[in-house]
Structure formats: structure tokens, C-alpha cells
């Protein structure tokens, strides 16, 4: 196969179970599911994009020596097609000696309204399939999946830890013979927020540029240009016109990221009374965000976007002109850096929490007091603290 034009995220898709990084718990669960089949006929792997749902399905199949029959959401619009693929397969259960696993990828794509028949078809398949079914989904908690949730085993795949992403990136760099500094790789790994696919895409784009200074631009792919434009409109325009009402439409970025961008630049754009008013509107926008998250009341998005755009623009009376240097969000990075620095503190607290029936979080909070209590030789021995941890305690 000519791999030259294959995107890295496909080229380096892993097919071996041992290469799947950071999802040990999920791997175990799938194995248990396959062994106990047909106790449950389907397992749903759900989690954010790019954490390895599809790869995991293929890897498990590979290890079990099974063949994958892949269906995606659109196949379910067509009843005949399903019968064609799955029907014979189901009946010829053991003809080839080789087991089969049916993979239904990206089930989120099935619409509850338009594809009503599709979902029913899927559930029907779930009830009678002679082969184990693996389903992948981003948001399994969507209402339309309530029946699916009942019938299938659920396995959540976590976001990949940025350290794991970093390791994968370093691997790929070596194989592709690309030289990128550790700092830059770290930056990509953090920004990917657990999405390996996004991280590899970023790395690939970066590797094709000759100047490293371009790294700044790659960070969030093409998202940044559009977000800068939107910020300029919000922070420098005052009138609320049609364009202002849809100011974030062209920004290809999750709303959580948008909040971070706006928050970071509020104090760049505004001072004094305007800043106070803008903070108030940002706060209200965030309240709607919280309510959407908890109550799944999506209509609140109208207010969320309005407050975040027009609401924050409208705190000033006149348009602003001139060029303003808007900043990238730094909070997530600061949190990450702090966590790196506090790794020892955390590991001490984990040991303390286990011995003393408290939460790790609680121990972290009380750390200033605990470090005094943990000063003695014998208590350190009791908690089995390592040399590094003791050194950390003596330092702070």
C-alpha cells in the first residue's frame, strides 16, 4: 500500500492491542464482554473523538482472530443493505471457522427523527445477532440511545492523558524522521486535549512547514484566524447587527474553548466599568452553559451565545479602531504545568488518603498542615513514602 498520501492519523492507526495506549480498563472490559457473549450481544465504546474507539475495536478483533464487518450510521437508513451484510453473516455463523465481530461505527450519526427506522433496525440486530457487536459513540447519554443503553454493555473511553499523547507524537516523529523540539511537541499534546487524531494532524501540518516559527499558527489549525476575527468584532464593535448576532458561527471551535478565548482577552480589551459589565455578561453566559450541561436544555444555547457575543460587545458605546494583540488562552496550560510540578505532592496525598480514610482531594487541600504531621521518621515509614517524596516534604 502506498502510504505517502495517507494522513498520519490513519497511517499510524494501531491495530495491535499492545499498542493501544492509556485504555487498559476498557480493553479488559471488552475482553470480558467477548468471552461472555451472548450474555450481552453488544458493547458500546463511548468517549470523545480521537481517543481510539475504532482502533480498539479492530485491535481486539485482531487479537481474537476475528474478522470485522463494519457498518456505519448511514447503512442503517437502508434496511436491505443491513440484511445483505449482516443477514448471511449471522446465519453462516461457523462456516469459515473464523469468528466475526460486527462494528457499528459512529452511531451518533443516526438521527432519532429522520432515521427512526434505522435505530429500530439497529436494536433489532442487537437482539438476534449471532456475532458480538461493537458500537462506537461520542455521546451515549443522548436521549435517543436510551434503549441501546439498556441492551448493551457500556464502556467509557477516557480522554488520553497528555503525557501519553506526547509519547505517541515522539514515536511518530522518530518514524517519520522529523525533528521537533520537546516544547513544541508538549504544546501540541496539551492542545489536543486527549484527541490523538487532532494531535497527529497538527504534527503532520507542522512537519510540512519549513520554519518552526510557524508553529504558533498551527496550534489550533485554522481555528485561530477565525477566532481572532470574531474577537475583533466583539471587542471592537459596539452595534448589534445581524453579523454580531452570528459572530461565532464561522469559528470552528468547541464553545468551551471559545469561553477560554473570550475570558483571556476580556481584560485586554476592556478596563474599569466596561470590564466589570463584560465580566457580568460572561458570568451569565457561563451559568447558561452549566444549565445546558446539567439539564440538557439546549435552547439555553441561544442566550449562551448571545451573552458571549453581543452581550460582551454591547458594554461599550462606540466602535473601537486600531489593532489589538489578542492573546491565546493560557489557563489550561497553567493548570497543566502546576499539575506537573505538584506530582510529588499528589503521590504523597494518595498514600495518606489510603491510610487515613479521606479523599486525595481533601488531603491536597490540607497539605500545609499534613506536611507538619508527616515530618516524623516513623510516620513516613508507615505511609511507605519514597525518597523523592520525603525530599519534597523536606523542601516545602
Amino acid at each position: 500500500m502506498n502510504l505517502k498520501n495517507v494522513p498520519w492519523c490513519e497511517k499510524y492507526r494501531v491495530y495491535e492491542l499492545e499498542d493501544i495506549k492509556g485504555q487498559d480498563l476498557a480493553v479488559d472490559k471488552i475482553k470480558v464482554f467477548l468471552k461472555s457473549f451472548p450474555k450481552k450481544r453488544a458493547i458500546v465504546l463511548h468517549g470523545p473523538p480521537g481517543v481510539g474507539k475504532t482502533s480498539l475495536a479492530y485491535a481486539v478483533a485482531g487479537e481474537m482472530g476475528a474478522e470485522i464487518l463494519e457498518l456505519n450510521a448511514s447503512d442503517f437508513r437502508n434496511k436491505a443493505k443491513i440484511g445483505e451484510i449482516v443477514g448471511p453473516a449471522s446465519r453462516q455463523a461457523s462456516l469459515f471457522g473464523k469468528g466475526k465481530i460486527i462494528l457499528i461505527d459512529e452511531v451518533d450519526g443516526i438521527s432519532a427523527m429522520k432515521d427512526r427506522g434505522g435505530l429500530a433496525e439497529l436494536l433489532g440486530l442487537l437482539a438476534k445477532s449471532a456475532f458480538p457487536i461493537i458500537v462506537t459513540a461520542n455521546d451515549i447519554w443522548n436521549k435517543k440511545f436510551s434503549l441501546l443503553r439498556k441492551k448493551a454493555e457500556l464502556v467509557q473511553l477516557k480522554e488520553i492523558d497528555s503525557k501519553v499523547v506526547l509519547k505517541i507524537l515522539m514515536d511518530v516523529c522518530e518514524k517519520e524522521d522529523v525533528v521537533v523540539t520537546g516544547e513544541v511537541l508538549k504544546g501540541i499534546a496539551i492542545r489536543a486535549r486527549g484527541d490523538i487524531r487532532a494531535a497527529l494532524n497538527d504534527l503532520e501540518v507542522l512537519s510540512k512547514m519549513d520554519s518552526e516559527s510557524l508553529m504558533q499558527e498551527v496550534g489550533d489549525r485554522d481555528r485561530e484566524k477565525s477566532v481572532f476575527d470574531a474577537l475583533k468584532k466583539v471587542f471592537q464593535g459596539s452595534g448589534i447587527d445581524e453579523e454580531m448576532l452570528r459572530v461565532y458561527d464561522g469559528v470552528n471551535m468547541p464553545i468551551d474553548d471559545l469561553f477560554l478565548w473570550v475570558e483571556e482577552n476580556l481584560a485586554v480589551a476592556y478596563k474599569g466599568e466596561e470590564l466589570c459589565l463584560a465580566l457580568e455578561r460572561l458570568s451569565l453566559a457561563d451559568v447558561y452553559r452549566g444549565r445546558i450541561r446539567r439539564q440538557r436544555h439546549w435552547r439555553f444555547m441561544v442566550y449562551e451565545y448571545f451573552l458571549l457575543g453581543a452581550g460582551i460587545a454591547n458594554v461599550k458605546k462606540y466602535d473601537r479602531s486600531g489593532w489589538v494583540q489578542y492573546k491565546k488562552p493560557s489557563r489550561i496550560l497553567k493548570i497543566w504545568l502546576q499539575n506537573q510540578r505538584a506530582a510529588k505532592k499528589k503521590s504523597i496525598c494518595v498514600k495518606y488518603a489510603k491510610a487515613c480514610h479521606v479523599s486525595v482531594k481533601g488531603a491536597m487541600k490540607d497539605f500545609m498542615l499534613l506536611r507538619i504531621i508527616l515530618g516524623g521518621e516513623s510516620v513516613r515509614k508507615e505511609l511507605d513514602l519514597s525518597g523523592d517524596e520525603i525530599a519534597y516534604l523536606d523542601k516545602v
Binding site: 475570558e263 474599569g272 470590564l275 466589570c276 465580566l279 458570568s283 479521606v358 507538619i372
Partner: protein
Amino acid sequence: MGDIYNSEVWTEKYRPQVFEDMVGQEEILKRVKSLVDSMNIPHLLFAGPAGVGKSTLALIIVRRLFGASWRENYLELNASDERGIDVVRQKVKDFARTKALGDVPFKVIFLDEADALTREAQQALRRTMENYTSTCRFVMSCNYSSKILDPIQSRSVVFRFQLLDRKDIKKRIDLIAEREGLVISNDAFSALYEASEGDCRRVINLLQATASISPNVTPDLVNTIVSKAKPSDIKIVLDYALSGDFVNAKEKLLEIMLKESISGQDVIKAIQREIWNLPIDDGVKVALTEKTGEAEFRLVEGADEFIQLEALLAGFIRAGMGDVKEVKGEN
């Protein structure tokens, strides 16, 4: 008196091992004891503030039920650390799969800080409780029972723990002083008690930290430890805000939250207390407190704690500009 648990950490060393050693919560103890004596308990939900004996009672229950083999029949999980319900479920499953050892037909799972679980996780927990009800009993603890889903509450017997009386905590401290050979003056005990807000664990932690310096525990020594252990001063943040310097206020706030691992709730609590020490008019203090209350409400409702705290800082910036009416953002 029960025997002393062999630990160098006093909260463990002096954790009551039998019902008779516990202080306070008399009514609860009576009822729980009679449940345990029948060798069969329902699911239990302990609600109440920190350091009043919820975990201790859970441990006493399993010791009483299972005797020497309690460790094999008991699993402790902390929901605020293991937030993924899948982890919880997996551990529950692994634990419940094997039969209980001994005469009691079930095992006990203690789910500490259960109110830290999301709604979805609680829904899942409810199913788990049902699935394993023949082999497992759940004892859950929480600060506020209102954060626990009704279906879970209705499957459990709920006990509401009260804050411990000063005299009850004194009883425990006197015992420790006697065993450890400490001299604690009345004033020193007051200082310990004041700094702990009725949280017995904190009192004992403070005492151990103080005693590590001298067995003669004085109020001054206690206060030295308290100030050493205090999180960095939130007042610096407020001072920046009052002077109109939002950027530095925000930077400092984030730094404190990250360094001290404190939550937005903790910050709000500290700010609300600090307001009364600020050099501003009473009217402004009232307005700021109102604004703080609103911020705490939004912090619960919203998605990003830090954004809500920043918005609260706006109130302080306005107070610094001297406009009382404006503090609350009423125009």
C-alpha cells in the same frame, strides 16, 4: 475503651473502634447499633459536615459485623477521587463477585463523599445498588443529602449527623493528651477548637502538628501552626481588585487556587469571611456580601468556577471605585 490502632497519624491512632468510644451523635448511634446487632443492615446514607464521625461509624459497623475478617468484607471508595462511575462500578463488581466470608451473607461498600458523583453517575450507582443488593450493602456519606438523587435516598436509611459539641471534642482531646503526655491549657483548646469549626479530624490534626513542636500546647503555638497551615491570603487578591488592578487580581487568584489545590467554593468561603476585615464602609460590605452570595449561587449553576470568581472580582473593583449601588451590578 477500645484498643488503640497502631498508627503514627493521630486521626487514625485515636479513631474510635467501637460504638462506646464515639462522642456525640447519641441518637444515631443507638439506632445504628440496633440495626447492626440484628446482623443485617439496609443501605445507609450518612449526611453531615466533615469530621463528625461518618467514616468512623462506617468502620465501626463493619468491625462489628465481620469481626477479625472485616478487611476482606469491606471496600472503601471515595467518590470525589474516583469520579468515573465506571471505575466505581468495576470495583464494586469485582468486589461483589465473591461471597462474603463468615456468617454475614453480604459485604459492605463504603462510598465516601457520594455527593461528588454527577447525576448520571448516581443513576448508574442506583442500578448497581440494585444489582448487587443480595451480596452488598452500601454505606454512603455526603455533606448535603440534597445532592443525592431521591431514588438513592429512598433505597437507604438516612442519618443526619450534627456538628460535634465543644464538650464532646474536648473529651477526645483530653484522652489524647493523657495518652501522649501533653499539657493543653483551656485557652489552647479554645484556639484549636476555633480554628477547626467543629471538625474533629482537623482538631486532632492541628493538635498533632502543634505537639510535634512541643508537648506543652499553648494558644500561641497553636496559632503559629494555624497561620502556617493557612492557605495563602485571599486578601491579596481582594486588595488588587479594590485598587482596580483586575489583571493582577486574576493572576494571583489562579495561582492560589492551583498551588493550594483549593476549589472555587473554598475561595468564595474565604472571600465572604474576609469582606468584614476590609477597610470599607459597612454599606459596601453588605453589598459585597450580597454579590458574593450571588457568585456562590452561580458557581453551583455554572460550568466554569473561575469565570464566576472573576465576575465576583468585578464587584470588588466597583467597590474600589466607591460606588455602592454599582457593586451588585444594578444599573
